[in-house]
Symmetry: C2
């Protein structure tokens, strides 16, 4: 039997606070009513998009702390990362807080990576409270990974739209709120996709691997969850995942969806849907948290997916590996 990639949290760390901030386009999307803050312009009063992204993550961290009612002095560490080279949004944002900082990179899987590692610290009583956060910004990601914005480059049908948004939550040893009960850490999976405009195809095999591993390690099946949600496979990627799971004898039903697929309405013309760390992070820290708090969802399998793509690697002929980490979050017991 294969070794377990899943860890179970005996003390079930509590998500005591959460916050989601998004850009103007996202703020008129399908999750509009759930976000804590919608920016009026995506520069957010800064002179560069990168500084705007940093300011978003700062605001998300502050908002999550306020929502948690935990005193900043009682928060041990920030676990954060983003898509920008050297994680400049997270690292520079962390300067403002008198807390330890752990930089993480899992591309768009970072929200789950940070919660899974943060929950490990809290569960083991090595931290009382931790902050988990991530962000992405359409304009910073587009020019770093693809083309200068000024080029007005045409987007192929498989492309996705990087969400401008940041999400953060506070995990605590005590308090009220939904609880993180387990985490499945994914492997790097590479099936040879080279198209930087088809992230869904690059990430779907990793989502499949982590989902199969999660079901194997936990003995759970899809119907045990009110929602199974991948991060940003988008319309094509999530269809590929459904097919791949069916090939493995597991049928994903109506309780499966993908944050990227759900994010934008058709009139936004974003082709295959949303993407970026901020995609699943803002959905998790607004919509999903809201449903868990109201107990409309009792048990959610949250599986952000990351395409570990790099311009340097692509230029050298490399394929695009994917990764997917999963966490299980359950509503508070009555």
């Amino acid at each position: 039997m294969a070794k377990s990639q899943t860890i179970f949290f005996k003390n079930k760390p509590v998500i005591t606070g959460s916050y989601a901030i998004v850009g103007p386009k996202e703020g008129t999307g399908n999750f509009a009513e759930y976000f804590d803050y919608v920016m009026q312009d995506d520069r957010f009063g800064e002179d560069t998009y990168e500084k705007a992204e940093r300011k978003m993550i700062e605001q998300a961290i502050i908002g999550a702390i306020q929502s948690s009612k935990v005193k900043p002095a009682d928060i041990n560490m920030i676990l954060a990362g983003d898509l920008l080279n050297q994680l400049i949004s997270s690292s520079y944002a962390a300067r403002d807080f008198k807390m330890s900082y752990l930089g993480l990179f899992g591309a768009c899987s970072t929200m789950a990576e940070s919660i899974a590692i943060g929950a490990t610290f809290v569960d083991a009583k090595q931290a009382n409270n931790v902050i988990c956060s991530t962000s992405s910004h359409f304009s910073t990601a587009e020019r770093q990974f693809r083309f200068p914005l000024e080029l007005g480059n045409q987007r192929p049908p498989t492309s996705q739209w990087t969400v401008t948004g940041a999400g953060a939550c506070v995990l605590s040893q005590t308090g009220n709120g939904p609880r993180v009960t387990s985490a499945t850490f994914g492997k790097v999976i590479d099936w040879g996709v080279k198209d930087v405009n088809n992230m869904g195809a690059a990430m779907a095999p990793a989502a499949m691997d982590t989902m199969l591993t999660h079901f194997r390690d936990t003995g759970a099946s899809p119907e045990d969850y009110d929602l199974i949600v991948t991060g940003d496979l988008g319309k094509l990627g999530s269809e590929i995942l459904i097919d791949l799971m069916e090939d493995n004898g597991i049928k994903l039903g109506l309780n499966y969806n993908d944050c990227g697929q759900m994010y934008f309405p058709r009139r936004h013309a974003v082709l295959c849907g949303g993407s970026g760390c901020g995609c699943s992070a803002t959905v998790f820290n607004s919509f999903i948290m809201s449903k868990l708090k109201k107990k409309e969802y009792k048990k959610v399998l949250f599986m952000p997916t990351g395409a570990l793509m790099s311009t340097t690697a692509s230029q050298q002929g490399d394929t695009i590996p994917g990764i997917c980490h999963a966490i299980v979050v359950e509503s508070e017991e009555d």
Copy 2:
């Protein structure tokens, strides 16, 4: 009183294996006799430097596993990161191993970040064995962060030489070897240095902050350690640290040194010394591990330092924040 940034490992995870691979220049440096493998050329048979760096980290991981005698099937996860955008050395290397992968970014502090997080998993019995690894390569770092190699750019006196090397170790719940007993997670500290050729000055305040925090949290003082070693402050940065600590009433003695300062002999003409994730990683996984195993060192405070610099942030006028994480490693008890 300030909150603790230090965690103590009750079960003291064991470093059951370690491995260090370096480039030809490093292989004729001051730690030459300790390395496991010296490459004959820094392309390592690959067609790009980036692929050579990836191959180094692959070899380091395999070497550490072999040295630990732990079966690959019993290793739960790889915790790794490097300096390259999107951590391509680590992420692509992780494809080859059937293990969960957690990407970490702490710039040159990554060896301590990975050991500290890895030890948390092992200590909490959430993993039986984990691999911690990092790498750097002079030619990949220089062209990503500074200038094209072909330019033959002149190096100012404060500059340091990115070590070409990769280190890896295996942390285990059981077995023989030195043990990780505590970790102090650092904050992001920014004192306003903007010079990308003076990393030592950018990182020294972070090293000071983490060292003061470590002594405060643990009640230890410098003489409690056989070796206190920072990562890659280099000649200037480590002098700044000594001054800063003295300003805080703590005198660092002859048991303090810096991996970057120690790495190269004068004839290598590297100005302020070595730098890069590979600098402290290869010293730790060869020289320091050897001394701990022979019990010539009983207790080591290992404090890799990272400059969270980014070309994008620099171009936008930002300063360079630093970070430093510390771990305490003790030789096996008799």
